[in-house]
Amino acid sequence: MDNNETPAQRPVTLDITGAVEVKPSLSEAPISPLPSLLPSSDVHFQEESIDLGGESFITPEEDSHSTPSESLMDKLNDQMMESVMISDSPNNSEEDDVVPMDNLLEQFEEREEEPAAAVFKETLVEEEEEVEEKMDDLIGQDTTEIKIEAAMMQTSPVASSPEEPENVKQKLTTDDQDVITVSVSAVTPEDSTPSSGSPKPEAAALEASSKETTSKDESIPVCTIFSQGSQPKAQALVPDGFQPTLIKSPSFSSSTGGSTEITPSQLAPLVCQPSPSLSKFFSDSGHVNPATDFFDSFTTSSFISISNPNAESPKSAAPPERQLSASSGSSLSTSGLTESGILTPSSFIGPTQTEATPRPLQQAPVEPAPATAPPQPFTQLQAVFSGGDDPFATALNMSEADKRYDAWLPSEETRKVLISMATQHYSQVFVERERLAMPGLKFDNLQGDAVKDLMVRLMGEQAAMKRQVLTANSVEQSFLGLKQLISTKNWRAAVDLTGRLLTAHGQGYGKAGQPSSHNTDSLQLWFVRLALLTKLSLFQNAEMELEPFGNLDQPDLYYEYYPTVYPGRRGSMVPFSMRVLHAELPQYLGKPQESLDRLHSMRTVCQTILDNLEQGLAEDGSMINLTQENRQASLQLWKSRLSRVMYAMANCLLMMKDYVLAVETYHSIVQYEPQQKVQLLSGIGRIFLQIGDIKTAEKYFLDVEKASLEKGSGTIDTCVLMNRAFIYLSQNNYSEAHSSFAEVLKIDPKNPVANNNAAVCLLYLGRLKESLRQLEGLVQQDPALYLHESVLFNLTTMYELESSRSTQKKQALLESVACREGDSFNTQCLKLV
C-alpha cells in the first residue's frame, strides 16, 4: 500500500485490510443489447425474452394482489430489503445474462406488484442515492444485473410516487402484502435527502390514518393506536434489550427512525388526542353538569382556602358519606343510588342536583355546602374495595398495617404544611394552588380491539363477529368489574373503566388543573390506570396524566391533609407501586436519567425508613413503640420495597446500556432477595452474553451451578441447563444448544422458553420445517402458554420464510388469538399488516 506516507509522529488513519481494492476482473460476457438473446435455441426461452418487454409479469394470481396494500406507515417502518426479481434468463448461465435496459425498467414496475419474498427487512433505502453513484461506477465494468438494479432504483420511485397520496387511505384498508413497493415508494423523488424528506410521508400517513379514524367514529376521541402501523414495530415488540442487533448506524438514523430506538418523537403517534368529549358525554344525557360551573368560578383564585371542617365542631358527627362528599370537593355528579347497587354507566353521567351554586372565593367552607348531598355512586363503589375510606372505621382501627404500608417521608416543605394542617385546628391553612395535585384525564377513550379490527380488515365483518371481548360497558362499573377486565387481559377496556370511575370522582376529562380532593380509592384508580397504560406501551399518555401529580409529594396526597376524613391517619395516599411506576416511566420515553434520579430518591427514602425501623423508631422516625411483630413485618415490607426499587434501577441502567452499573446493581439485590440469587446471577450472565463477553458469562453461570448445588436439589437445575444452552449458542454451536434446551424439556416438558428456544435453534440449523412444526404444535396444544408475542413473532417470521402462503397461516393464528386473548393483545407480532 502507500509506503511513502507514514510519518512517525502523527496519528495515521489506517486502511483496514480486507478492503482489497482489486479492479473488477470479471469474466462476464460483454454487455450487449437484445440481439444476443435471440440466438437462444429453446422455444420457451425465446418467448420469455420477449416477455421482458412488458406487462407479461402480471399473473392472474398477482392481479388479485396488485392493489397497493401496505399503509405508508408500514412502508416507513419496515425496512425491507430490496428483493428484485429481474430477469428470467433465456440462458441457464446467469453470468451471461444480457438484458435490454428498457425492458427491464418496465419489467421492474411490474415486479413491484409481486407479493414477494424476502424476509429481509432492510433496504437501507436512505443510502440509495449514494448507492446509485457507486452503482454508476460499477456499471462500467461490471455485470449487467447491477446495472439493471441501479437503473431501477432511479426509475421506480418515479413510477410509484405519484399515486401515493391518493392511495394512502386505500392502502390502509386493503389487506394485501406487498414487499417491494415498500422499499421503493419510500424513496420518492422529493426524498432525495433522507433527513429532510422522510418525515414528510410519515406525517402524511399519520394525517391519513387519523382522518380515517375520526371519520369513522365522529368526535369521540379515540386513541389512534389502532390505525395500524403507527406504532414503531420494534419498539412495541421489544422495549430495548433487543437493540444490539437492531440499531442503525448513525448515518441511517434519520429515515429509519421508526424501527428501534425509543425516542419521544417516534412515540408521538401514540398519543391519544384529547378532546372535549366529556362535556358531550354529559350533555348527551340531557343534563348540565353544574360541577363544571362550580370549578370554573372556584379556580379563578390562585389560593385555595383550606379549612378544617372541625373548626366549629371538632369531631363533627357528620355521617361518613357526607363528609366524604364534602372533602372530595363535591365535584361529583351525584346521582342517586341505583337500587341494585350496581351502577350503570348512566348513573355516572346522570344529573347533579345539589351543587348548583358556585362557592364564593376565599370563603372558608366552614359548613360544606353540599352536606346534604345524597350518597354518591362513587362512595358506593368504594364499599367494594377493602381499603376502607369510612372515616369512622379508619379512625377506630387505624391499623398497624395501614401505617406500615402508607409510611413515606415527605419533603421538608410538604412536611411543614402537613404539620400546620394537624396543629392549626382553628384557622385556615393556605396552600398555594401550584402545590396541589390536580389530576384529570387527558384523553377519554381507548376503546377498540386491535384483534377485531384486524379481523374485519382481513376476513370481513362476518368472521369478526366471532370475536367477543369484554368492554367497559359489559362489566359491573366497579372495582370488581375492573378486576375482571384486567384478569381477562382487556386492559384497554379497563383503562376506559378507570376513566369512568375517575370521572365520577371529579377527576375526569378536562379536570386537570382544577382542584379536587383525593382519597385512597381515587389514587388506586390512578395507579391502575397508569399501570395499564404502561403495560399497553402508551407511555406518552401515562406521562401526560401523571404530570399534574408532579413528584408525588404534594401535601394533598397525604392523609394528614384530610384530618376529618381520615382522622389520625398518616402517611402517603399514593401507593408505593405508583411511585415506582412514576419513577420508571421516563426511561420508556427516552429519559432514563430522570428515571434514575427518581429511583435514587426513592431508594433514599426506603433506606431511611429501614434505618428508622432498625433504630427502634417508627417508619417515619417518630418515637412510637412498635411491637416486635409489627417491626419485623415492617422491616420485611420495606426490604422488599427497596429491592423493587433496586430492580427498577438495574433495569433502567440496563436499558441505558450502562452494563457496569447494571451488573453491580443486580448483584446488590442478592442481599435483599437471597432466594433470587440463581435467577439474578443467570441474568447477569446473560447480560455478559449480550455484550459478547462469553468468558465472564461462563464465570457467572458457574456461580449459578454452585448456588443451585447449595440448594441441594440433587438433580441439575433447569436453569443451569438453560445457561449452558446460551453459552453454546454464543459459540455458534446451535446443535449443542438445541440438545441442551431439549434436556431442559426432559425435566420440564412444558417449559415454554426451552420449547421456543429449541425451535429457534432448529432454524439456525437449517431445519425450518421441523422448527415450524414444533412451534405450531405448541401453539395449538397449549395456546395459554404459547400465544405470547415472542413465540408468535418467531412463528410468523418462519411462515414468511417458508412460503408465499404465510398470510393464510398468519390469519389462522389471528383466529386462535381472537378466541383467547383480550383487547390488549399486541397484534403487531403477527405481522399481518
Binding site: 407479461s56 430489503m81 437492531l246 440499531i247 401507593p575 411506576l581 418467531n794
Partner: protein, 415 residues
C-alpha cells in the same frame, strides 16, 4: 404475440418460491415489569399476570432481561469482518412436483463474485409443499455494496426449463476506526499507541487486540497492570466498548538483537507489524479485522548519531558524575572527529575540549566516557557537545541529549 407467453411465464412463476432471511444472532426478549402490592387495588392480579407470562423469569419477575429467544426482526447492520449468514429457502408452492432444481447463491461485491452455496448439486425432485434449505455463511471482507444473487433453475413436469433470480442488496460498513501513533524512545525501543474507536451503534466486547510484530521486533503489550498472579486490564473489569468510545492500546517494540546491533541499519520506513482485532457483540456474534502493516519512519540520525549508554538518573549538586556516550557513524564515508564541550548555564564539562577522537569508519561506533557536573538543582538537560568532521569541516551539535535530576546532598543528610 404475447398472450401465450404470459401464461407460460405466470405458470412458471407460481411454481417455486424463493425466500431469504439474514440470520443474525437471535435476541433475548425483554419484558416490562409492572408490579403492585397485595393491598393495591389489583391485588395479586398484576403479579399473577406476570407469573403466567412465559417470557418472565420465574421467581424474579422484576428482572427485565428474559430468556426467550426471538428471531432477528430486520436485516440490521453488517460490518466488515463479521460473518454474513443467511437462510435460503426454496419452496415448492405448486401442486406439482418439479425436477432438477439447482439453487445457487452468489455474493457480488464491488470487486469480485463469490459462490456461497454449500452444494452445487442439482436436487432431483421437489414435491409440493416441500422445500430446499440452505444456510450460507460468508466472512465479509469488503466495505460497500454487496449483492446477494440467488438463482434457481428447475424443470417442470411438462419439461419446461425455468429459471429465475433474486437480488438482495446490502451495505457493509466499517466497524472500527484505528489510529496509531509512534513514540521513539532514547533507546531503540518504539512505543506504539493504537486508538481504537467503536463506530458501530452497539457495544462491542474487545476479545483480543494484539500486535503481531514484524520479524525485526519483539513486542510487549502494556495493557495490563500486574497485580499478583494475573494482570488486570487497564480498561477495567468489563472490557467492552460503547458506541463511539475510543480506547488506547499501548505496545512496546524492541528491535531483535541481531537488528539492534546494526544501529545504522534501521533507517527510513520500517514495517512494525499489524494489529489483530477480534470483537464480539450480541450473543457472541463475532468479528475480526487486521490492520494493514503499520509502518514507521525511523528517526533520522543524520551522519553521526550520539546516544547515551550510561547516565545516572540522580546526581549531587556540584559533584562530578560520569556518563558514557556512544558515537556511531551513520554515513557512508569515514569520518575524522573532534569533540568540543561547551558549558551551559548549569552544565559544566570536565576535561579538555577539542580533543581528537580519531577516524571512524561507516557504521562503526566508539564509546566515550565523559565527566561533568551541574551547578543548578533540579531537572537539568545535558547539552553542549559538538562533533566536527575534519574531512568535510562539518560540525554536528548535540543539545538536550538527556536529563538528570540534580539534588543537594546536604539537605537530605540534615533531615
Amino acid at each position: 404475440l404475447t398472450s401465450q407467453q404470459y401464461s407460460v411465464k405466470s405458470f412458471a412463476m407460481s411454481f417455486i418460491k424463493h425466500l431469504v432471511m439474514r440470520l443474525t444472532k437471535p435476541t433475548l426478549f425483554t419484558n416490562m415489569p409492572v408490579t403492585c402490592e397485595d393491598r393495591d387495588l389489583p391485588g395479586d392480579l398484576f403479579g399473577r399476570l406476570m407469573k403466567e407470562d412465559p417470557s418472565t423469569i420465574k421467581g424474579a419477575e422484576a428482572l427485565m432481561l428474559g430468556e426467550m429467544l426471538t428471531l432477528p426482526q430486520n436485516f440490521g447492520n453488517i460490518f466488515l469482518g463479521e460473518t454474513f449468514s443467511s437462510y435460503i429457502s426454496v419452496h415448492n408452492d405448486s401442486t406439482q412436483e418439479v425436477k432438477d432444481i439447482l439453487v445457487k447463491a452468489d455474493l457480488q461485491t464491488s470487486s469480485q463474485r463469490l459462490n456461497l452455496s454449500a452444494s452445487n448439486n442439482t436436487v432431483t425432485e421437489l414435491k409440493p409443499e416441500s422445500c430446499i434449505d440452505d444456510v450460507i455463511h460468508h466472512e465479509v471482507k469488503e466495505i460497500g455494496t454487496h449483492i446477494l444473487v440467488c438463482a434457481v433453475s428447475y424443470t417442470t413436469q411438462a419439461g419446461e426449463k425455468l429459471y429465475f433470480r433474486k437480488f438482495f442488496k446490502f451495505q457493509v460498513l466499517k466497524p472500527l476506526d484505528v489510529k496509531t501513533k509512534f513514540y521513539n524512545a532514547e533507546t531503540d525501543e518504539v512505543f506504539l499507541e493504537a486508538q481504537i474507536q467503536n463506530i458501530t451503534t452497539s457495544p462491542m466486547f474487545m476479545e483480543k487486540v494484539s500486535l503481531e510484530p514484524s520479524m525485526m521486533y519483539n513486542v510487549t503489550e502494556l495493557n495490563t497492570v500486574e497485580t499478583g498472579d494475573e494482570g488486570t486490564s487497564t480498561f477495567g473489569k468489563m472490557s467492552y466498548l460503547q458506541p463511539m468510545d475510543t480506547r488506547q492500546y499501548l505496545y512496546c517494540l524492541k528491535p531483535k538483537s541481531e537488528f539492534a546491533e546494526k544501529a545504522g541499519v534501521i533507517k527510513g520506513v520500517t514495517v512494525i507489524g499489524k494489529l489483530d482485532i477480534v470483537w464480539k457483540t450480541n450473543l457472541g456474534e463475532k468479528g475480526r479485522l487486521q490492520t494493514s502493516q503499520l509502518q514507521r519512519m525511523a528517526p533520522g540520525y543524520g551522519d553521526v548519531r550520539l546516544s547515551l549508554e550510561m547516565i545516572p538518573d540522580t546526581v549531587n549538586l556540584e559533584e562530578p558524575f560520569d556518563i558514557t556516550c556512544k558515537i556511531t557513524n551513520c554515513s557512508e564515508r569515514t569520518m575524522d572527529l573532534v569533540l568540543e564541550m561547551c558549558n551551559t548555564r548549569s552544565i559544566h564539562w570536565c576535561g579538555v575540549s577539542g580533543r581528537q577522537l580519531g577516524k571512524v569508519s561507516p557504521s562503526a561506533s566508539l564509546s566515550l566516557p565523559l565527566k561533568l557536573l551541574s551547578s543548578v538543582q533540579g531537572l537539568q538537560s545535558i547539552s553542549g557537545l559538538r562533533l566536527t568532521d575534519t574531512f568535510l569541516k562539518r560540525t554536528y551539535e548535540y543539545d538536550d541529549i538527556a536529563q538528570v535530576c540534580v539534588v543537594c546532598p546536604y539537605m537530605s543528610r540534615e533531615s
